[in-house]
Structure formats: structure tokens, C-alpha cells
């Protein structure tokens, strides 16, 4: 077995998704008000991890301070793990900040360790979190190396001591922080700790230290609990600065749709329905329901749909978090890459176009039309979802445009007028009754021509002899 460990040293700050352009100095503090993470903007002004918050304020009084959110960090680790399933099926989370991937079985498929590592790093970069890696035959040694000797690659079990022995003794996790550290006993490196009498080590620092030492060198087995994909995608991200407009949150939306796309491609599914929830400081939430015309897992398409929809509707101000949850995920076969260039999949494009138009204009403004089995002109057509097919034989002699509402025409001695007297070309065609749904009609329809040669469809109410314009032969 060969383990690749991904360690995210800045996870506690990376979970607060920021806009790339407007980065203000931001720090994360723990419960004792000690700075445990900072963003890049802090480097220039001299704020370092380990400083107390009051010291940092003395350096720069305008820093943004956030409390560490361990729950959110775990969720983020999970969502990163989801996007790694294309590289291996054996992934285990090792909180607080690492993910272990068993790559022994994948090395050949991805043409070597360096190639595989490169591809994994590309995937991680798309998610916008900082990462450092190491490869080793035991999980624990991979974890330690990723934290203390970045990019180390150990292939053989026998080589582990050579890499691990020089690591600082602080790599070991101590259960009791109050006891003296190995450093205080003059044991600065792991190697020195290994050479110390085992009984003495146990006496001072407990069994767990020996246990870790045994696991790191593979003397004792180290079984991992593997991460299992959840049934539905549900992820929340926090923004580092409150956002009030669509361009400000689009960076976060891009990241969240990317991780949904990764999740869906692992499950070979596409999303058909999903909810986007935005919440602001006052926990005032706003839910947007999305329904696509066909399953999709294209992050660009999903992002553009969300963008169009949010620009059309009013969003709450000062948004702090975005939550994306899939509702319906039908199976979607992976795209087949052909060697011969061919036209883009038409069915796919067609669904995309409908989604795009509906996102911008609203669902009611984009529709298909169909013929209905009804003799009344108003009822012999209806709107449908685009692409729906119905077989009906419509009556003959119908105009291309039907008016939304018939227009009353003036008439002199029973000759209707529209830009002058109308000339009747053919008719009458009597269309009547509709008692079953309170839309009873009794009309005589005529095809008529105006003085300037337009052709129109008009009718006369048989009850009161009034004339109406109902259609145009365009």
C-alpha cells in the first residue's frame, strides 16, 4: 500500500471563501485568542501565527478577526474528499487538517506517482485551498511528512526511518499537553525518541506515543476508516466578507458548483433539481429552487444558471454563507470522448439553452406550444414544457397569430371596419358551445381583407352581432 497525504495547513482560513481581488488582512483565532492562521495579506504587515490577538491589534488595528469553525473545517475536508474519488476509492479523513489517499492501486493508471500527484494538486487548486503533500507506505508517516517535510516521496518500508527520524519530536500527537515534552528531556527528533528505552517513553508520555511510533514504521498495523460518499450533495461555504451583490458572491458559487460537479461525476449522476440557500448576518435566509430541463454536472453551466437567476431576483444584503443542496440526481452516463471530432451533443445543448433562457427570463417566459383537441380557438392551443410532443389534428383555415384578447371592431350597416371597411373573403365558419367549462361561445368566423391588403381573422357574435378581430395571417 502507498499513501498520499494531503495536508491543508491553512484550512481554518481557507474555509472563509474570499474574493481574490479584495483581500483584507484576516486572522483566525482559537478559544484562547491566539492567532492560529492568517491570510496572505497579513504577511506584509508582520502578523504571524502564534501571536496573541492583542499583539496583532497593536501591529495593525484594522485586521478582520474570525473565530475558528471546526465544524465547517470538517465539512470542507469532506467536500475535498468527494472530489478525490476519481483518483482512488480508498480515502480517509484524518482531522484536523489532512486527507489520506491510498494510491498504490492507481499509480499505473495515472502514469506514475508524480503525474498522479500533479493531477490531484490541480483538482485541489480548483477548490481554492492551500495544500502540501507527501507519499509514504504507512498512513501516519505520510501524514507527518506532509506536515514537516513537504513533497517527500518514500516508496519502500525500509526507507521510512531515513525520512522520519530527522523530523521534530513535536510531530507526535500528545494526549496530555501539560506533561513535559520530549524536547525538554533532550529528545529533539523522532530518531532520538525511537532510540530511547521504550519503558521510559511509556512512563513519561503514555502508551499512545509508542503506539504512534510503531504505526509510523509499520511495525503495528494501522487500519483506516474509509470515507463514504453521502447520498446527496449538501455543502455550505462561508464568505470572509459579507457580500451584497451577485459579482461579489460568484467566486464562492463557482467553488461550490465545482465541488458539486466533482461529487456528481464520481457518482456518475447529474443534478436535476437543487436548492441554493443564501444567509446573511441576521440568519435571514433566502432559498432559490432550481429545476433543470435535463441532468447536468457541468460546473460552468450550473454557475451561469445561478448567476442569471440571482441577477434577476432580489438577494438579501450582507450575505455570509451559501448552501447548495441537491434534491434530485438522476444517473448521467459519462461523456464519451471520441477521436473523431463531431458536433456537440445536440440533446445536451438543447437542454442547456432552455435552462439558460429560463434562468434569465423566468420559467413562464420560455415555453413550447402545442395543439389541443378543442374547437374553440382560444382553447385549441396551449403552452407546454419545451419539447413535449402531442399528436392532434387541428382544424383548417387558422391564422398564424392569435390575439391574446379579441379586439372589438366598429361596424357600419353590418360591415366591420379595420383601417376602412373589411372585405369578406370566405366564411362564415360557425364555432359554438363550451357549456362544460363556462366558456360558452357562439361565433361566426370570417376571413377578411383590409383595404391595405392585410388578411385578418374576424368573428361576429351571433347573440349581439358585434364584430371582433381575433387573428392575423402574417
Amino acid at each position: 500500500m502507498l499513501w498520499l497525504c494531503l495536508d491543508f495547513p491553512n484550512l481554518s482560513i481557507d474555509i472563509f471563501t474570499g474574493r481574490e481581488d479584495a483581500e483584507e488582512p484576516t486572522v483566525i483565532t482559537n478559544s484562547k485568542n491566539i492567532i492560529i492562521a492568517k491570510n496572505k495579506a497579513c504577511q506584509h504587515i508582520g502578523i504571524k501565527a502564534g501571536m496573541s490577538l492583542s499583539a496583532a491589534y497593536a501591529v495593525y488595528s484594522l485586521i478582520q478577526v474570525k473565530r475558528r469553525n471546526i465544524y465547517q473545517e470538517e465539512r470542507t475536508l469532506e467536500s475535498i474528499a468527494m472530489s478525490l474519488f476519481k483518483y482512488s476509492s480508498q480515502i480517509s479523513l484524518s482531522p484536523p487538517s489532512s486527507i489520506l489517499i491510498e494510491i498504490g492501486a492507481s499509480v499505473k493508471l495515472f502514469h506514475g506517482i508524480q503525474n498522479l500527484r500533479k493531477q490531484i494538486l490541480e483538482t485541489i487548486n480548483e477548490l481554492g485551498v492551500g495544500v502540501q503533500t507527501a507519499v509514504s507506505p504507512t498512513p501516519l508517516s505520510a501524514t507527518w511528512l506532509s506536515r514537516h517535510k513537504v513533497n517527500a516521496t518514500v516508496l519502500m518500508m525500509n526507507d521510512i526511518p531515513q525520512y522520519v527520524n530527522p523530523l521534530p519530536a513535536s510531530a507526535i500527537e500528545f494526549k496530555h499537553t501539560s506533561t513535559t515534552q520530549p524536547r525538554d528531556a533532550g529528545l529533539k527528533t523522532i530518531g532520538q525518541l525511537v532510540r530511547a528505552p521504550r519503558s521510559a517513553v511509556t512512563q513519561r508520555w503514555g502508551l499512545s506515543v509508542l503506539d504512534q511510533l510503531d504505526r509510523v514504521f509499520g511495525i503495528r498495523p494501522d487500519p483506516q476508516t474509509f470515507f463514504v460518499l453521502p447520498d446527496y450533495f449538501s455543502t455550505e461555504i462561508s464568505l470572509n466578507l459579507p457580500a451584497s451583490s451577485v459579482p461579489e458572491i460568484i467566486f464562492g458559487i463557482r467553488r461550490i458548483t465545482q465541488s458539486m460537479a466533482n461529487y456528481l461525476s464520481v457518482k456518475q449522476r447529474g443534478v436535476l433539481k437543487f436548492n441554493l440557500t443564501v444567509a446573511n448576518e441576521e440568519q435571514d435566509t433566502h432559498i432559490f429552487h432550481f429545476k433543470l430541463s435535463g441532468p447536468s454536472r457541468d460546473p460552468k453551466h450550473l454557475t451561469s444558471l445561478i448567476q442569471e437567476r440571482l441577477s434577476r431576483e432580489t438577494i438579501p444584503s450582507r450575505i455570509e454563507s451559501i448552501h447548495l443542496k441537491s434534491i434530485q440526481e438522476p444517473p448521467l452516463a459519462p461523456s464519451i470522448d471520441s477521436l473523431i471530432p463531431q458536433e456537440e451533443n445536440t440533446e445536451f445543448c438543447q437542454a442547456h439553452l432552455i435552462d439558460q433562457l429560463q434562468a434569465k427570463l423566468g420559467n413562464d417566459c420560455v415555453y413550447g406550444i402545442t395543439v389541443c383537441a378543442d374547437h374553440r380557438p382560444e382553447n385549441s392551443w396551449r403552452t407546454t414544457t419545451p419539447g413535449e410532443r402531442h399528436q392532434q389534428t387541428p382544424p383548417r383555415n387558422r391564422p398564424s397569430w392569435l390575439l391574446h384578447k379579441p379586439i372589438a371592431l366598429t361596424s357600419t350597416s353590418n360591415i366591420p371596419h379595420l383601417r376602412g371597411p373589411l372585405v369578406i373573403i370566405s366564411g362564415p365558419e360557425r364555432i359554438e358551445t363550451g357549456w362544460w367549462d363556462d366558456n360558452d361561445i357562439k361565433r361566426d368566423y370570417f376571413l377578411a381583407r383590409t383595404q391595405d391588403h392585410s388578411q385578418v381573422w374576424i368573428y361576429q357574435e351571433t347573440i349581439n352581432d358585434r364584430w371582433f378581430l381575433h387573428g392575423i395571417f402574417a
Binding site: 458536433e343 432552455i354 385549441s380 413535449e388 397569430w401
Partner: protein, 212 residues
């Protein structure tokens, strides 16, 4: 002598005024022999501006045989901002598959232009037809840009009152009715010179209205 000299030069290297350069993306037969004989049908991948002198002279029916043929194709026929209800029984009578039609309504001409652009760019439409009571040169240019190299039948209808400083549409078709004849004038077409007006008789009365 002149004829042999001209014959010795490859036709692609010399342009003769009376000849029409064929549209590289092809044509869709209009369904009217008068039109097809003179201009090969409606050009694909070129924006066509249709300017009827008034509504109701069969200006839309002029496109129907071509649209009916395109509806055999699996792709959409996008109607952007039609002025009234596009009446499904009429389309069905004309042999058009109504399940291919999508109707969209936009609030303003910019949104309508956006809809047409999406349709042209998406590879999902075989025809994109728009109605603009007013249109700007900027929208026309954007549409033409999105259309280049796409084999789409794209038409927009405007009113004769629409004024331009400089009309960028590559094809302009004027439609008017005189007596029982519909007259089509093409004052502007890409790659070809002016042609005499084409008159169509019985455009309204016969097959176009579903009268048999």
C-alpha cells in the same frame, strides 16, 4: 477572344459583377420556386432582416415552408418576442412539428437580443426568429458575430419605420403587398448585386394559410 481569356482564369480569382458568390454555409429552400430560382433559397448562417410594409401580408408565412423543413431536424426553432400568440394549429397545418418550437418573451429589446444570441451560439437551434419593434445597430452586430460559421437560419422582423445610421445587416428583405401579389425586394445581400423584385401570387390564399 474575351471569353477564352476569362475561361483561362480560375473562377475563384476573378469576380464578375453579374455573378453571385454562393453562401459558404449553404441555403435552405424557401419552398417558393420564384425565390429559389433567383437566390437559391434563404441563406444559412447570415442574419436576414425582414421588413414587411405592414402586419398581415403573409410575411411570416414566407418562412413557413423553410421552417417546416427545419422542424424535421432535432434542433429547436426559437421564436423571440412574437407580437401575438404563435397559433399552434396554424403551424401544425403547415406541416411544422410544434414540439420543436420554443417561444420566449423578453422585457426589452436588449433581453430579446440576448435571447437570440443564446439561441445562435448554443448549437441547439436550427432557426432563430425574432421580432423587434425597434432594434439598434449594436444588437445587429452582436447577432451577426454570434452567427458566424453557424449553420442557423436566422431572421429578425422590424418595422419599416426603424431608422439606422448605418445598417450592418448583411441581408435585407422588403415585403409589400400589391393587389393580389406579394412583392419581395432584396435591396441588400452579401456577395451579390441587386436583383429585380420577386413577386409571389397567392401567397396568402393557398397553402400558406392552410386553405385547401
Amino acid at each position: 477572344m474575351t471569353s477564352t481569356l476569362l475561361q483561362s482564369i480560375p473562377p475563384s480569382q476573378v469576380w464578375r459583377g453579374k455573378e453571385h458568390r454562393l453562401n459558404p454555409l449553404g441555403y435552405i429552400p424557401s419552398g417558393f420556386s420564384n425565390i429559389d430560382d433567383k437566390i437559391h433559397g434563404w441563406p444559412l448562417g447570415t442574419l436576414i432582416e425582414m421588413v414587411p410594409s405592414q402586419v398581415g401580408i403573409g410575411e411570416f408565412s414566407l418562412l413557413l415552408p423553410a421552417l417546416a423543413r427545419l422542424s424535421q431536424n432535432p434542433r429547436w426553432i426559437l421564436l423571440v418576442c412574437p407580437p401575438h400568440i404563435p397559433y399552434a394549429p396554424f403551424f401544425s397545418n403547415m406541416g411544422l412539428d410544434t414540439s420543436k418550437i420554443i417561444v420566449t418573451h423578453a422585457k426589452n429589446i436588449n433581453d430579446a437580443g440576448w435571447c437570440m444570441e443564446q439561441g445562435l451560439r448554443s448549437n441547439a437551434c436550427s432557426a432563430v426568429i425574432g421580432w423587434f419593434p425597434q432594434i439598434t445597430e449594436k444588437i445587429i452586430r452582436r447577432l451577426q458575430l454570434n452567427l458566424e460559421e453557424k449553420k442557423v437560419f436566422s431572421v429578425f422582423f422590424t418595422k419599416p419605420t426603424t431608422s439606422y445610421k448605418n445598417n450592418p445587416t448583411p441581408w435585407r428583405v422588403l415585403i409589400r403587398q400589391t393587389g393580389h401579389k406579394t412583392v419581395i425586394e432584396i435591396p441588400k445581400r452579401r456577395g451579390g448585386g441587386p436583383i429585380s423584385p420577386i413577386s409571389l401570387s397567392n401567397l396568402m390564399n393557398q397553402k400558406c394559410c392552410g386553405f385547401v
